[in-house]
């Protein structure tokens, strides 16, 4: 084996010896030796980083996760803790450990743009890792640790600049954004050299098991076989209990997943309620008319359009109106147009929104701070107006807000307003442990989005039980969504592991 010798000590010593000096201080000589001894890494195993991290209270499951990744997974892993258990801290700890051990120097961290500053602050303040946020023209060759938004990284000229660097470690936050192997970001990450690599996501499977295949193949190509063999063995059409068990075992070789209940921390519980809502006869009539549209005009033949419209009708007339009005501009036969206009007229005449009334009821009963999640901006605006007429003040939030605006909204919600109304994209990067009630006004197709939403509130630092209300209108598309969510949760639990309650448990 090759032995590297470093330092010019030998030459320098001979020179000082020949000139008899200058000689150094005995005190500093001793101190220098003591420091080396103190910082020595005496074992291959075990963690050195915690003793350096005086600014952070590490939890046992975080230390254990870091140790598992380093000692058992050889530094390549998916960190898949449930939301709110500190995946960022685990990643920071692993990175710090490798840096102390001198194995990792250059690190690239890819994150959604909204989390960029948060990462930089955490690494600097808590881990004493001098990370910088990448902006246009940041000379990345001069920085060892760079935090970059995924959207920037995948584009020219940034991607080329990254390829020129030789990173020792790649960390990707919210890695479920890489579930689709046909995307630019997936190809970009695939072509990066990944000496050490961490993928962070609470939701390694959102819809089907191919997502975990692509994620693992990015981390460790071949671990789940190649595409053909994976499909042959595990394709959803012929899932067997044995196959799932085997897959779960393979996945667990590259994945650490802590669940709230195994952290040893007292977690408050989740009280999940599915709340069925009955339409008024007037609402039902409009819903049924929209339902029949697909047979009325080819404009509505696409099932995607229909699904959108029906979901919107389950949300608010405002949301529905916007879409229908857009459709009508597209041009259609006269009698078709008449029918749509009839719907629009009836829609505008609706005076009651049954769901909004239910929301009001929940807020009154809770008599506390409440977060409402909706998928539609129009509904968001409507709800604010509606609550205002009932004397309840609210503040709006969406994912496009800048860091400072987020902080401002959080402040308003904490101190002034009873209700925060957020759109879907508001699910990441805002933490609201002071609130204990979450209303899912519309249901997304993807259960992990629900989990992300709940995770804003049910995370470390939450002191009370969290109430979750999933609203669904009876005999509408929302009922189907509920069923589908249930079966997706089922797949996830079979392959990845149990989930905390998202939906009401089936008896």
């Amino acid at each position: 084996m090759i032995i590297e010798r470093s330092s010019n000590w030998r030459e320098d010593f001979i020179q000082r010896f020949e000139q008899d000096g200058p000689w150094d201080s005995w005190t500093l000589y001793n101190k220098s030796y003591e420091i080396e001894k103190m910082n020595l890494i005496p074992e291959f195993s075990g963690l050195q980083a915690p003793k350096f991290l005086t600014n952070i209270q590490l939890l046992p499951h975080q230390v254990e996760a870091a140790q598992t990744v380093i000692e058992k997974m050889n530094g390549k892993a998916i960190l898949a803790d449930e939301v709110g258990l500190g995946k960022t801290i685990e990643a920071g700890l692993i990175m710090k450990e490798y840096m102390i051990r001198g194995i990792v120097k250059k690190v690239l961290i890819l994150v959604p743009a909204s989390l960029q500053n948060q990462w930089v602050t955490e690494l600097n303040m808590r881990f004493f890792i001098p990370a910088v946020a990448y902006r246009k023209n940041t000379p990345i060759e001069h920085y060892d640790v760079v935090v970059m938004s995924m959207d920037t990284a995948k584009k020219s000229p940034h991607r080329e600049k990254i390829y020129e660097q030789d990173y020792d470690m790649i960390i990707i936050d919210e890695a479920h954004k890489l579930k689709n192997h046909k995307t630019q970001i997936y190809e970009f990450v695939q072509s990066l050299k990944k000496k050490f690599c961490l993928l962070l996501t609470a939701t390694p499977i959102q819809n089907d098991i191919f997502e975990i295949f692509y994620l693992v193949s990015l981390l460790k190509p071949g671990h789940l076989g190649n595409y053909e063999s994976f499909q042959a063995t595990f394709s959803t059409t012929k899932t067997s209990a044995d196959g799932e068990k085997y897959l779960k075992e393979l996945v667990n070789q590259v994945m650490v997943r802590n669940r709230r209940q195994d952290t040893g921390i007292e977690w408050t519980s989740r009280k999940v309620e599915t709340i069925p809502i009955q339409y008024t006869p007037e609402e039902r009539e409009v819903y049924d008319m929209i339902s029949s549209l697909k047979t009325v005009s080819p404009v509505f033949s696409s099932s995607f359009t229909m699904v959108t419209l029906l979901k919107e009708m389950c949300s608010s007339k405002e949301a529905t109106f916007l879409t229908l009005n857009k459709m009508i501009q597209k041009g259609m036969a006269k009698e078709e147009r008449d029918f749509v206009e009839e719907i629009l007229a009836k829609l505008m005449k609706l005076e009651i929104n049954s769901k909004a009334e239910k929301v009001m009821e929940i807020i009154e009963n809770a008599n506390d701070k409440v977060i409402i999640f909706t998928e539609y901006r129009a509904t968001q605006a409507y709800l604010q107006w509606y609550l205002y007429t009932k004397g309840i003040s609210s503040v709006l939030f969406n994912g496009k807000f800048s860091k400072s605006k987020r902080d401002w909204v959080k402040q308003l919600f904490r101190q002034r307003d009873q209700v925060l109304i957020a759109t879907e994209s508001g699910g990441e990067g805002i933490n609201l442990q002071f609130c204990h009630h979450v209303i899912n006004y519309d249901l997304p197709w993807n259960p992990m989005k629900l989990e992300q939403r709940i995770g804003r509130v049910h995370r470390l630092g939450q002191e009370e039980d969290v109430h979750i209300y999933n609203l669904a209108i009876e005999n509408t598309i929302e009922q189907k969504i509920l069923d589908l969510l249930g079966s997706k949760i089922d797949v996830f639990e079979k392959v990845v592991g149990d989930l905390d309650d998202i939906l009401t448990r089936k008896a």
Binding site: M1, I2, I3, E4, R5, S6, S7, W9, R10, D12, F13, I14, F17, D20, G21, W23, D24, S25, W26, T27, L28, Y29, K31, S32, Y33, I35, E36, M38, L40, I41, P42, E43, F44, K51, F52, L53, T54, N55, E71, N74, G75, R101, G102, I103, F128, P130, D168, Q190, S191, L192, K193, K194, K195, F196, K220, P221, G222, H223, G225, N226
Partner: protein, 260 residues
């Protein structure tokens, strides 16, 4: 290192490097740096370039270092310094640079007036690091008797107990070395080589096994492809960088010792 240890360490360090300690509250230290120390620990090469280029009066920094943040009300009073912080790391580095080479003589109380002989020794403190996807480090402190060539380990622990000074004590004389220090250094180097060669290297074998296993997994992924894509080679390179076992030998410090 606890807050108090950091505090004591800083006091010793600045005293030893001739930086004036302006005040010391026990949890906070106010220090006037010398020009040399400013250059070593303040990270501002452009400032010094400018001062030197323009021949301006240098104005080395004055640091207010807070070693125990629990005892202060206003965090803007100074810079919080603790184990793990960048500044302390730089001071460690400066310590290493300023404590690399020594020449020391042993003093003793008794036998005043009687002529005494001091034997020359040469010592090197080595740090040996084993790297793969994991690391392990060992310190060897080897001292060699420059008269008879005997080599001892744990030399530093031994000499650090002695009363050593930079000047030769009265009534003492030093034996002339037979082995030249340059030659002694070569001997110690080959001794280290020997120690390393005889060490247990199952860690390297294990690392190679892990490497081989991951390589097989990778090959399976690209199995049957005529032209393997670039990503295959990239992954392969990544595996090598991660698992390939390496050994590094560094010298912490060392010097000449004249001992009874």
């Amino acid at each position: 290192m606890y807050a108090e240890q950091v505090h004591d360490y800083l006091k010793v360090f600045f005293k030893e490097t001739n930086c004036d300690i302006l005040s010391d509250e026990g949890y906070m230290l106010s220090v006037q740096l010398t020009t040399d120390m400013d250059k070593r620990i303040m990270n501002r090469p452009f400032y010094w370039q400018y001062i030197e280029a323009t021949n301006s009066t240098p104005n080395p920094a004055r640091l207010n270092l807070i070693t125990d943040r629990a005892k202060i009300q206003n965090q803007f009073m100074g810079e919080i310094i603790h184990f793990g912080s960048g500044r302390l790391h730089q001071i460690f580095k400066a310590t290493k640079e300023l404590g690399s080479f020594v020449k020391m003589y042993q003093h003793s109380n008794g036998n005043k007036g009687k002529q005494q002989m001091l034997t020359p020794y040469f010592c090197v403190n080595y740090k040996v690091s084993y790297y793969c996807d994991q690391t392990k480090e060992v310190i060897y402190s080897l001292g060699i008797n420059l008269i008879n060539g005997e080599i001892e380990d744990n030399f530093h622990d031994f000499v650090s107990q002695l009363d050593l000074k930079t000047a030769i004590p009265d009534d003492h004389f030093c034996l002339q070395y037979i082995i030249k220090p340059g030659r002694a250094l070569e001997r110690l180097d080959s001794m280290i080589q020997n120690i390393i060669q005889n060490d247990d290297h199952s860690w390297a074998e294990e690392a190679k096994k892990r490497w081989q296993k991951e390589l097989e997994v990778l090959d399976f992924f690209y199995d049957g492809m005529e032209d393997k894509p670039e990503s295959y080679e990239i992954e392969k390179k990544g595996l090598k960088d991660r698992f390939n076992p390496r050994i590094k030998v560094e010298i912490i410090n060392g010097g000449l010792f004249y001992l009874h």
